[in-house]
């Protein structure tokens, strides 16, 4: 990591790993197992996070010797939900490329859907996700898991599972890097004067 002078690392690789394990166990505890559970990651970085949480849920379920009714693999537990077309700022920006949506074969009707995203900020992404979900089906409940909650909500939305509460000012930027996309695991907080990013293609997330 070359970002020492460019930002503060607030979560390291092992911090992220521990946070995701804890979230996985909280999800199992609150829903009394993995039955009827569907994890939907919001692209870009929510999608790999959802898969990681899903993998932890599967291994926890097996280790505890519980039945894994209906859940035979990661693909039937975890999907991805693109919310681009439901964004409220679509026309304020250049046309955005669409990301794939993949819903597990069992659908989401009468399931408990856990939305997974990297950073919770204004809440607008989650509002868009709720709209997107209602186009696909009618879940029994929708819950929200985020790696980082940085505050500054603009809508009445809160997360059910939070990796880390991170007090920030609006002028700061929170950058999540994930192995699957960026080659490394870290959450970096950039101050107002941090302009130059390092060589990775990581995106500054304000969603």
């Amino acid at each position: 990591m070359s970002s020492g002078s460019l930002g503060t690392i607030v979560l390291t690789e092992s911090d992220i790993s521990r946070a995701l394990t804890r979230i996985a166990h909280e999800i199992l505890e609150r829903n009394k197992g993995a039955q009827d559970l569907v994890l939907l990651g919001i692209p870009t970085r929510g999608a790999p996070l959802a898969r990681r949480v899903g993998a932890r849920i599967l291994s926890a379920e097996n280790r505890e010797g519980d039945s894994v009714d209906g859940i035979d693999s990661l693909d039937s537990l975890v999907g991805a939900l693109d919310i681009t077309m439901h964004r409220d700022d679509l026309r304020r920006q250049p046309t955005r490329a669409l990301e794939p949506t993949r819903i597990p074969a069992g659908g989401i009707d009468d399931k408990v859907v856990v939305l997974v995203d990297d950073v919770l900020y204004s809440g607008r992404t989650i509002r868009a996700a709720l709209d997107a979900i209602s186009d696909i089906g009618r879940p029994r409940a929708v819950q929200l898991a985020v790696l980082v909650d940085r505050g500054h909500r603009e809508l009445p939305i809160r997360a059910d599972y939070i990796g880390k509460n991170l007090p920030t000012s609006r002028s700061e930027r929170v950058r999540v890097q994930l192995r699957e996309l960026d080659g490394t695991d870290a959450v970096v907080l950039h101050g107002t004067d941090a302009v130059v990013l390092d060589g990775t293609d990581a995106v500054v997330l304000d969603g």
Partner: protein, 324 residues
């Protein structure tokens, strides 16, 4: 990309972006709720100066699935039949608040004129102009071929190495011209087959091979896809140009009958832009065979047109100007 006027204008990256977006759109169309919100509050005008049912309906369905309002304007029984010019028609539509114009016109170049003359300030999509271009048809054909070629993992792929044979009235066909342009951009290997009278002068410089003999081409080229173009019966008469002596002769030499269907490689698909003349350029056996993608092409057409409308309209206006 501000307008879609010609398949020749598309770069490889732009074409693949449209096809990838169409793939996502197609996915949403298998849902119970097919409507998506990105063009909410926008108005798309279908400006059709030439009869068309399937293209107009396809654009209408695409715009409505993206939540746009659609105004259909056909020249028949309108102010155009009273002598209104394209310019006045366009300005009238702009004054009514159109956000995009989809135009079909019998004159080659009319969409280009509409897009560049400064009469209106909206994206223009060419839905077929004269004997020139029909870019969304080429895109949906490429989309269909790409899906058959790459299966589920189509994202980001082109058509490199795909062998395509296009048969029929190339001279009058905007579908053939658009397909040759787009398929060349995507790396496919194209042969046009037609009687000499139905190949335009200058076709030898197009990025494709030419042939007069369908049986030899099928044998030598072993196509992955064969596309039959619609042949109009009236082209036979001397009034229609006298391009071929009789429908029977055309059908014998250039029609896709049972024997030619069997001569195709096992995986080859049979394409037709529709509407088909069964018994002329395509036999009922070929049209109804499991290799025929005619119906698939229609549903793919909606997804491709959704992608084009989304990419041209969903983003902010200022960004579109920067991109051009």
């Amino acid at each position: 990309m501000r307008h879609l006027l010609s398949a020749a204008d598309l770069t490889r990256a732009e074409a693949i972006e449209i096809l990838d977006t169409a793939e996502t759109m197609a996915q949403t169309q298998s849902r119970e709720i097919k409507k998506l919100p990105p063009l909410r509050g926008m108005t798309v005008v279908n400006l059709f100066f030439e009869d068309s049912t399937r293209t107009r309906i396809s654009f209408e369905a695409a715009a409505k699935r993206l939540s746009a309002d659609v105004i259909n304007f056909s020249a028949k029984g309108s102010s155009v039949s009273k002598g209104e010019s394209l310019k006045d028609t366009a300005q009238t539509l702009a004054a009514m608040g159109a956000d995009a114009v989809v135009i079909r016109h019998p004159a080659s170049g009319a969409p280009h004129r509409l897009a560049t003359a400064g009469w209106i300030d909206t994206p223009v999509i060419n839905a077929g102009d004269g004997m020139h271009q029909h870019p969304t048809q080429a895109l949906l054909d490429a989309f269909t071929m790409r899906r058959r070629r790459h299966g589920a993992a189509t994202t980001g792929t082109d058509l490199a190495g795909a062998r395509v044979v296009i048969v029929g009235d190339v001279l009058h066909s905007r579908v053939a011209r658009s397909n040759v342009d787009l398929l060349a951009t995507l790396g496919a290997d194209v042969v046009l087959v037609a009687p000499p009278t139905l190949l335009p002068v200058g076709a030898e410089v197009w990025p494709c091979a030419l042939s007069y003999d369908l049986d030899a081409t099928i044998a030598e080229h072993t196509p992955d896809a064969i596309m039959m173009l619609r042949v109009q019966r009236e082209r036979m008469s001397s009034a229609g140009g006298g391009f071929f002596p009789s429908p029977m002769e055309y059908s014998r030499r250039y029609g896709l009958d049972g024997a030619r269907l069997r001569a195709l490689p096992d995986h080859a698909i049979v394409m037709h832009p529709g509407p088909m003349n069964r018994g002329l350029e395509i036999s009922a056996q070929a049209a109804d065979s499991a290799r025929s993608t005619v119906v698939e092409q229609v549903s793919n057409g909606v997804a491709v047109r959704m992608a084009v409308l989304y990419l041209l309209l969903a983003g902010g206006r200022s960004s579109e100007r920067n991109a051009q």
